[in-house]
Amino acid sequence: MLLLPTTLWFLLLLVMPLVVIAVYSLGERAPAGGYQPALTLAQYANLLARLKAFTNTLTLAPLGTVICIVIAYPFAYYLAVKAGRGAKPFLLTLVIIPFWTSFLIRTYAWIYILGGQGIPRLLEMIGIEDYRLIYTPTAVLIGIVYGYLPLMVLPIYVSLEKLDKSLLEVSSDLGANPVRTFFQVTLPLSAPGLVTGSLLVFILLMGEYLIPALLGGGKVYFVGNALVDLFLQSRNWPFGSAVAITLVGIMLAAITLYLTLVGRDRGRQDVSVL
């Protein structure tokens, strides 16, 4: 009884729409746009037409995830291990606030900074002329790191916070140097947070639209941008459906591969964001 509304919602708004685009992806584009019944794999054969969107997504999404890890880890370590007890809740709240504020507006801020009047202007002052930053892959990467850094910091912080600090002392008492302690004790014990964080960021990046739309300016575009174009501009629903289905397929394959590589049980951890 209690399950009824949720079941209805899942069936009508998850299963049915996915089935519909799966069916559409086997169809043809009607002359005026939209869908026309057919049973063909032509849309999938045509995927190479949007190869650039896929290669961009598949290079910039993992790269962005890795950069997030590299920046977030020492920071989360500082928050969890080094920061003073009194300052901790405040410092943590400062990480959470950007996470709760408009993603669109935070990305928009970078149009200023990377645009002609921002960093390139400053570089001109020190003699570097004509350096273009906005609408480049670098701009998109900066936007990605900026947007998703808090989401990477929080799970890593949670797992480092849970870590029993006496283990670190034991390790050093047993003669391990700090580097060895880090690689043999701290890093393995914080792995669940790393896995959760990178999965969250990677999943969201695979469907990213806003960052490439605002900072990539049509030059650096993701699958998400191709989808908007296909559905809202050229109204090619069957091809768009095929692109969407392929995106989901690639994501599921990548997530499965990743979880198998790091060991399944480590992916399970709650992320508290409040």
Partner: protein
């Protein structure tokens, strides 16, 4: 280490500070800055399109959060007793709802709803002949709320179920042993214990819905939400107005966040004591 942390905070807050600063621009162009005026604020707040978009967003986010919290909590409670295949299917659907990118949800919902409406609308017209198009189904508030509720409900289920699993089952048994009705047990034992999880589910749902651009972009039809309005105005060219909207949105979400933290802090111990 300290220095590094400070640099990260600067990275996180610098751009936000810049936007706030530029919203007090006295000049007419967004790119140059002249200190300081609030003239753009009064101009922006008289913009009826903007106010309408803001009200739409609040309505959609509020309804989404209420629906997602109630349905998600109901499902979490029910799932305690469900086992076997049904449980597996439910778990799988919950995770799928979260993993599928918003943009795919948006597209799939748009295409499915348009297809269904195309079938239903002629039927409705036949069954209830009317003069205008008053009865026709279309995209709007309903479709945005429905699509947002799908994702946020899955979030609520995951958060609340984690809390239920950490709950002391013997309390519920004790309550039943003391002749409490199931409803009384829920109200006096279960609910106070899961309340913090329900509350954070509600806040997450509200924020997600209020902040979402991509799903609404596809399924909102003729309606404009705040993110859609902001996106469109960025596309038209960066104006000081956009900075004012941005600053206002920041102020609103900051207020909500602080209120929420305050509510959670002051209520959680009380609830725990009752349980």
């Amino acid at each position: 280490m300290r220095l590094y942390a400070a640099a990260v905070y600067l990275f996180l807050y610098g751009p936000i500070a810049l936007i706030v600063l530029f919203s007090f621009n006295a000049g007419r162009h967004a790119a140059s800055f002249e200190c300081c005026a609030t003239s753009w604020y009064s101009l922006t707040f008289n913009n009826t399109f903007l106010i309408e978009a803001l009200l739409n967003s609040l309505l959609i986010a509020g309804t989404t959060a209420v629906l997602a919290t109630i349905m998600g909590t109901m499902a979490s409670l029910a799932l305690q007793r469900v086992k076997g295949v049904l449980r597996l299917v439910f778990d799988a659907l919950t995770y799928i709802a979260i993993i599928i990118p918003g943009i795919v949800i948006g597209i799939a919902t748009l295409v499915a709803l348009v297809t269904v409406f195309d079938i239903l609308n002629p039927l409705i017209a036949k069954l209830w002949p009317s003069d205008g198009n008053a009865m026709a189904l279309g995209l709007g508030y309903g479709s945005v709320i429905a699509a947002h509720t799908l994702f946020t409900m899955a979030l609520v289920i995951i958060i609340v179920r984690a809390r239920i699993q950490g709950m002391d089952r013997s309390l519920i048994e004790a309550s039943a042993d003391l002749y409490a009705t199931p409803w009384a047990t829920f109200r006096q034992v279960t609910f106070p214990q899961i309340f913090p999880a329900v509350m954070s589910g509600f806040l997450l749902s509200f924020t997600f819905s209020f902040d979402d651009f991509i799903i609404a972009f596809f399924v909102a039809g003729p309606k404009t939400t705040l993110p859609i309005y902001v996106f469109a105005s960025i596309r038209r060219g960066i104006t000081p107005e956009t900075n004012v909207i941005a600053t206002t949105v920041l102020a609103v979400s900051l207020t909500l966040l602080i209120t929420a933290q305050f509510l959670l802090r002051s209520r959680a111990p009380k609830a725990g004591g009752k349980g």
